[in-house]
Symmetry: C2
Subunit: 318 residues, 2 copies
DNA sequence: TTATTTTGTTGAAACGTTTCTATATGTATA
DNA sequence: TATACATATAGAAACGTTTCAACAAAATAA
């Protein structure tokens, strides 16, 4: 690998001159700068990020940590974040699992966006002492150095539940996702709030883990029950889809025999028969918003926590 | 940020001792090592990746460059790669677009897996002089320093076409994806080979770009045609799905009036009515295989190019 | 006892940049 | 002509690690 030293030698000048030239410093006249750039090209020189990062104490890179690549929810969000970051010449990098931990600890990025429930609050709090800025999307964390940008689950579910109630449903059950997650808890709260205002109680609770398979299992249980709910509000679309599939196989008609709703409005949901009613988040735009906020934080601004609003998409499933 | 220097000072020993202790070098007795580790923890020390990478001349990181996060094809592949890499303590990082270019040029990774048609052959050839190993998934590149691991599109499409022919279809059209890509070209070749062997010619060609929307546009054209094909072999599932949607809206029944097939077997395809026949690639396993190969390359092994076989999934669409 | 090996520790060089400061040369000003 | 100033270049320190080579002290061998 050619280094800046080799360029200097080939160009017959000092290292510092090369560095200035390559970084378009005005103190180097254009002719020499061009000559040096050409030589650098010829000997195939590319600056080492490691050396540069060490000296400059930054990386010009943003890390996005997600819980897995399998989810349909992330795609648009990532594209949105990347789209915005690219405009500002930042490099975006995505990781999961242990890779995220490594990247974070090693400070291989200038900032991070976290949407991975497997990363503990404790780890983040600890990390935030050395590493800033951090934006979390998947929890509400009360910490000076960490910004929260979440989805307003409570409000969305509140609105959905009100709509459900207005259609005459009475025996409303909630299908939980992973129990202690921010998303699950706040979604449930929204339902309860609406119920309470109408002097109703939750009819039943089922416990899944946000996956389609857990939805299928729950549906198998429901089939056995003698007294069934008339409406299933699900923690997300994937579970709802799994439930619908099994229910329909067992001749429970949706929405005639039982209503059902999801959350996220993933692409699949509009293809299913019946089309699933859900809460839509424009993840691309949200991603852009998140990136913009991060960029401002990087410049030293202070930003408030935000809650992204979803819109109710009423289709055919209740 | 605490540095190794601070740890040394706090522990009352030299920098090198700290370094050895933290890296579990056997020359430091366990008691002192533990004492030093504890102190490092207390003052919140985390080693700087930049400094370490610079000195060690590696990063313990693998980059996967993909063309966008929106595609349903990548998810499993990425999970597969990550799963395998994590077992070997490597960090995996995913990027798109300009971010990939940056990462590659800066050598922020020890190796790269490329599946992004927007990265030119020329760029890769140039890069490969300085950067190794590189595995490309989305093209066939004849270069000493670059490994090819592709899907055997030709064979898969050949088999599919033969099956189509055996069902009696005669007027077979191909729906192209992005024209000059490896995937599109080799998929088309497979069809042509089968056709030729049966003394047939392609009935018609349509030109899309692998997206659902391009499929929709093509379908709109087909509707207008007085002489229609009886079978549409599509370059991928997404286009096939788009076509089916529009065709059905216009009362063209599938498979009764026209047969159709896809490629990739994305999740959606088994939910659509009628269920789409396609070629399935087990992307998770393929990802693991790719990672394993990369790991071997990293150790200096030489590896042959491979072609991953797909399996024909025959459902309801032809 | 002396010689030799082992064990634990250290100093310093090196990795490849950026950037501060110094210096040489040339040009404008008095 | 001397002085000041601008312009172009160079030298060297610094970033935070790893690791080689050196060495003292302790343990073992002769």
């Amino acid at each position: 690998m050619a280094t800046i030293k080799d360029v200097a030698k080939a160009a017959g000048c000092s290292i510092s001159t090369v560095s200035y030239a390559l970084n378009n410093d005005k103190r180097i006249p254009e002719v020499t700068a061009n000559r040096i750039k050409k030589i650098a090209d010829e000997i195939n020189y590319l600056p080492s990020a490691a050396a540069r990062n060490l000296k400059k104490q930054n990386t010009n890179t943003i890390l996005v940590a997600i819980s897995n690549f399998g989810g349909p929810v992330y795609n648009e969000l990532l594209d949105g974040i990347h789209n915005e970051l690219a405009k500002h010449e930042y490099t975006m990098v995505v990781s999961t699992g242990a890779s995220s931990d490594n990247m974070l600890k090693q400070r291989t990025a200038d900032g991070a966006i976290i949407s991975d429930i497997n990363i503990s609050d404790k780890f983040l709090r600890q990390l935030s002492k050395n590493f800033k800025p951090i934006i979390v999307l998947d929890r509400s964390l009360n910490n000076q150095n960490i910004n929260n940008m979440t989805i307003d689950n409570l409000k969305a579910m509140y609105l959905l539940t009100q709509d459900v109630l207005s259609k005459g449903y009475k025996k409303i059950a909630y299908v939980h996702g992973v129990k202690d997650t921010y998303d699950n808890k706040t979604r449930f709260s929204g339902i309860q709030k609406a119920l309470r205002e109408n002097n109703l109680e939750i009819f039943k609770e089922y416990f899944g883990n946000f996956t389609k398979d857990s939805g299928k299992e729950i549906a198998s249980k429901i089939i056995e029950e003698s007294i069934k709910p008339d409406m299933l509000i699900c923690g997300n679309d994937e579970m709802a889809l799994g439930i619908m599939e099994v229910l329909q196989e067992n001749n429970i008609k949706i929405p005639e025999n039982m209503g059902i709703s999801g959350f996220d409005d993933i692409q699949l949901s509009s293809y299913f028969t019946p089309k699933l009613s859900s809460i839509k988040i424009n993840h691309f735009e949200w991603g852009q918003k998140i990136a913009k906020t991060l960029l401002r934080l990087l410049k030293g601004a202070t930003e408030k926590s935000t809650k992204e609003l979803g819109t109710l998409i009423i289709r055919e499933s209740y």
